[in-house]
Symmetry: C2
Subunit: 285 residues, 2 copies
């Protein structure tokens, strides 16, 4: 084996590296640099512009947590919009619910979808095999601007960081349109960055201040993501009426019999219990 | 600045590196290789045999979580035994309680204490300034073997991994003696490794199987530790009678007015809500 490593800078003076057994794919799309590698410990993994997006080994954590928290608060969700999520992992999870009628996935970069379909079937497996799913290759902000009021029950913002093509998805205008196109009992979940390293914590506060200004309920929950910087990552939960803890339908969700390797309805409640320094960061946002 | 990095292998093919601004100290003690470095993002940090023990920047997380969970379940704890913990951070936290009357700290390697007193006053600050604290430089297993029954209300096992000098602290005999020297309402907290990387998860299961066989109540709680492998770390909570959630004295603990940067009494409950794969690993232990 050649001594080849993928390295991501977590800070200017801290880095995480994974030994690569095979560099499977490389492409500069119109939007970003797409790479797929293979490794022993993490299996195949996808990077965009040098940032780790997912590994086969720990993607279940991210995709459990972006999908099932909202579904357990409102198991009657039928119409779902995924913004980003071109790897297909989020779509795979929400399509496990028989009650879901429609999933629109809006990914700006078609090449991400095509590359994942070829090299990451573990996440992309449902992108061309479920008639409830429809793919749109366009800008997420533009998509929500054009959409009629109350078109969805759930919006999942499965975006990259707010640099490059994901930037518009962290804007105030974007959240305003999301609110408008959500039903009265709608929920929005968004990739909410991390509280630990300063640049991530800055984006966490920026994102939270906009969600708080837009939705009557805007909360944040955490999970352990080994291959992301610091391992401490967040999603936002925003809603017009649901409180994610008081309105959790634990018995009903457990009655569905879906096996999830990370998520469970006790963890659901625990994930909203944040460390003091994270709460302070969010309160000052 | 020279291009000098401290690197820890988190797996045989995954590593985390921190740029070193100054290599402050190096010593091979009779027990282990002790190093102290300085860095921009993490401040000073201590390694033993090449494993990260603590950084000035994130040690508050570890020390909050090893100390305050037990103190909030039983705020009447008076007599505390710390096994390991030569950096002083755990002692610093428990000595914040005026009601604590005695803290015995048993560290096998006196050099760790002396090095931390010189280079890491942030954690070692109380090791020579509080009359309630007494230092013992001896093997923790030997110490608990010699101790009379019911000598302590709380034992905090603040050990390194079960390789090298910390090994005996993961033995069945050690836990048996801990139980014997704890009062009837005694609590034991131990460094419980991590659920993620296979070798850490193996030690997690080994530790849990022994605690379950020894104490009527043996539970596990999690926290986000950015500089430890995967960032997902655990402590064990073992007790003769207290359930860490049902018996949490949240109002009383909050009434003490202790500011903690990571711990709070909501997080306390949330920390015991574990991901499915972690619960499965513990159940199979």
């Amino acid at each position: 084996m050649t001594d080849c490593w993928f390295t991501e800078m977590h800070e200017h003076d801290a880095k995480f590296s994974i030994q690569v057994t095979e560099h499977l794919y490389s492409e500069k799309s119109p939007y970003q640099q797409i790479e797929v590698y293979d490794s022993k410990t993490f299996g195949r993994f996808l990077t965009l512009d040098g940032f780790m997006m997912l590994t086969e080994k720990d993607e279940f954590i991210y995709h459990d947590m972006i999908s099932h928290v909202a579904m357990a608060v409102n198991p009657d969700i039928k119409r779902i919009l995924i913004i980003g999520g071109g790897d297909g992992g989020t779509a795979r999870e929400v399509l496990r619910y028989d009650t879901v009628e429609k999933v629109d996935l809006v990914e700006i970069d078609e090449r991400v979808v095509r590359v994942c379909q070829k090299y990451l079937p573990q996440t992309a497996c449902k992108l061309d095999s479920d008639p409830r799913l429809r793919l749109y290759f366009e800008d997420g902000l533009h998509f929500v601007q054009e959409m009629p009021n109350q078109s969805y029950d759930l919006i999942l913002v499965d975006s990259t960081d707010p640099i490059g093509p994901g930037e518009g998805l962290f804007s105030y205008a974007f959240y305003q349109h999301c609110k408008r196109i959500l039903s009265e009992d709608g929920i929005l979940i968004n990739q909410h960055e991390s509280p630990y390293y300063p640049k991530d914590a800055y984006e966490m506060r920026r994102s939270h201040s906009k969600l708080k200004a837009t939705f009557p309920i805007a909360m944040v929950y955490q999970f352990h993501m080994p291959t992301y910087p610091s391992g401490h990552w967040l999603f936002g939960f925003a809603s017009k009426k649901y409180d994610p803890i008081k309105d959790l339908q634990a018995d009903r969700w457990n009655g569905l019999g879906l096996y999830t390797h990370y998520y469970n309805t006790d963890l659901h409640k625990g994930a909203f219990m944040l460390p003091t320094y994270v709460k302070e960061g969010l309160n000052n946002a």
